[in-house]
Amino acid sequence: MACGTTSLWAGETSWFCCGNAWGPCSSAGGGACGTCRSASYHGAWPNASQACWDITRPDLCGENIPRRGCGSVMNVRHQCSGATVCITITDCGPRTKSWCGEATCCNGACRTNRVLDLTPAAFSAIGNLSSGMLPVYIYE
C-alpha cells in the first residue's frame, strides 16, 4: 500500500525506539504489532486497536482519532519544512492523554497534542532527534 495525500490528522509527533536496540531501548521489543524496528520507517498510532485506545485515550484531549491498525501506511509531513516520510504503523502510542494541550510550534504556527510516535529512522528523516517533538500533518 502506498502513502497517499488525503489529510488524516495533524498534531505533535515524538519518537521512540523499538526492536533490537542498544541502551535503555534494548528491552523495547517489537511493539504492539511485533514488527517495529528503530531503523525502519515505522510509527505508533494511538488508535491501533481498542486495547491501544484504552491506554492512549486521545479523546480526553479532544482528539477523536480514527482506527488505523498494524500495517496502515501514512505520509508524515513537517509543518514548516515540508519534509515528508512514509511510515507503516507497527505499534500503539503515544499516550496522548498524558500531555493534553501540549503544543509544538514552528514559524509561529503550533500543533497541539501528541498524536503520533515515530521511530528514530522516520523522525530523523524530517527533523532533529534532539528536538524530541515536531509539528506534523499526517496523510494517507
Partner: protein
C-alpha cells in the same frame, strides 16, 4: 551566522553530499561548508536528491571501531555499516559537540547519503540519544529513579543543564515540581559505562 545563512548552508551541505554521490568522489574530511546543527538542516524545504540514489540512509547500532573520521557500526540486528563524518556533519552527544566526543561502545543513530564505496556520508549523527516514556519512581538530589517498561533506570540530573516542561509549558531549569508517580518523557544521553542516562529534558504531563 544569520538564519538565512544557516538555511543556505544547510541546503548547500545536502547538495554537497549529493554531488559527491553523483560524482563518485570520496569525502576526505574538510569541506568549506562548516558544521551546522541538524535543526537548521530542516529549516527549509530540502532539494531533491538525484532520483538515481536513495533519498537518505539511516544507520543504527553500537560503534565498534573509530578509524579517523569513519565510524564502524554494528547494528542491533547484526548488520554492519560504516559512517563517514565530515566537517559538515552535525554531532549530538548530550549537546551539540564534535567528533572528539565519540567513543567506541557508544550507541548511534546517523542520517546521511549512501556512497559508492558502501559508507554513509553523515549529515547528522546522534550519539547515545534516548527518548523514553518513563514513570518517576524516586527523586534524589542529583538523580531521578525512573521506570521504563519493566526496567529501572537512573537519570542523572545536572542543575542548570537539565530542563523540565510541566503540562506543556515552556522549558524551565526548575525541577522542583517533579513528583513521584508522574509519567515523564525523558530525552537524554545514555552512559554505556553504567547504563544510566544524563537527563537533558524531562517533560511531565497531567
Amino acid at each position: 551566522m544569520t538564519a538565512h545563512q544557516g538555511i543556505s548552508s544547510a541546503v548547500g551541505r545536502r547538495r554537497f553530499l549529493t554531488r559527491t554521490v553523483v560524482g563518485g568522489a570520496t569525502i576526505v574530511g574538510a569541506t568549506a561548508l562548516g558544521g551546522i546543527d541538524a535543526d537548521a538542516a530542516f529549516a527549509a524545504p530540502q532539494p531533491s536528491l538525484d532520483p538515481a540514489f536513495a533519498k537518505s540512509s539511516f544507520v543504527e547500532g553500537r560503534i565498534t571501531r573509530i578509524d579517523g573520521s569513519v565510524l564502524q557500526v554494528l547494528g542491533s540486528h547484526g548488520d554492519r555499516a560504516c559512517v563517514q563524518l565530515t566537517n559538515a556533519t552535525s554531532i549530538w552527544k548530550g549537546e551539540p559537540t564534535t567528533a572528539a566526543a565519540i567513543d567506541t561502545g557508544d550507541g548511534l543513530y546517523a542520517r546521511g547519503v549512501p556512497m559508492p564505496d558502501g559508507t554513509v556520508a553523515a549529515d547528522a549523527v546522534w550519539v547515545n540519544i534516548v527518548n523514553m516514556a518513563t514513570t518517576i519512581r524516586g527523586i534524589g538530589k542529583n538523580r531521578l529513579h525512573l521506570s521504563h517498561g519493566h526496567h529501572e533506570i537512573v537519570g542523572n540530573v545536572f542543575p542548570g543543564t537539565t530542563n523540565a516542561s510541566y503540562a506543556g509549558q515552556a522549558l524551565t531549569s526548575d525541577l522542583s515540581k517533579l513528583r513521584i508517580g508522574q509519567h515523564a518523557q525523558v530525552l537524554g544521553a545514555w552512559r554505556p559505562s553504567d547504563d544510566s542516562v544524563d537527563v537533558v529534558r524531562i517533560s511531565v504531563g497531567h
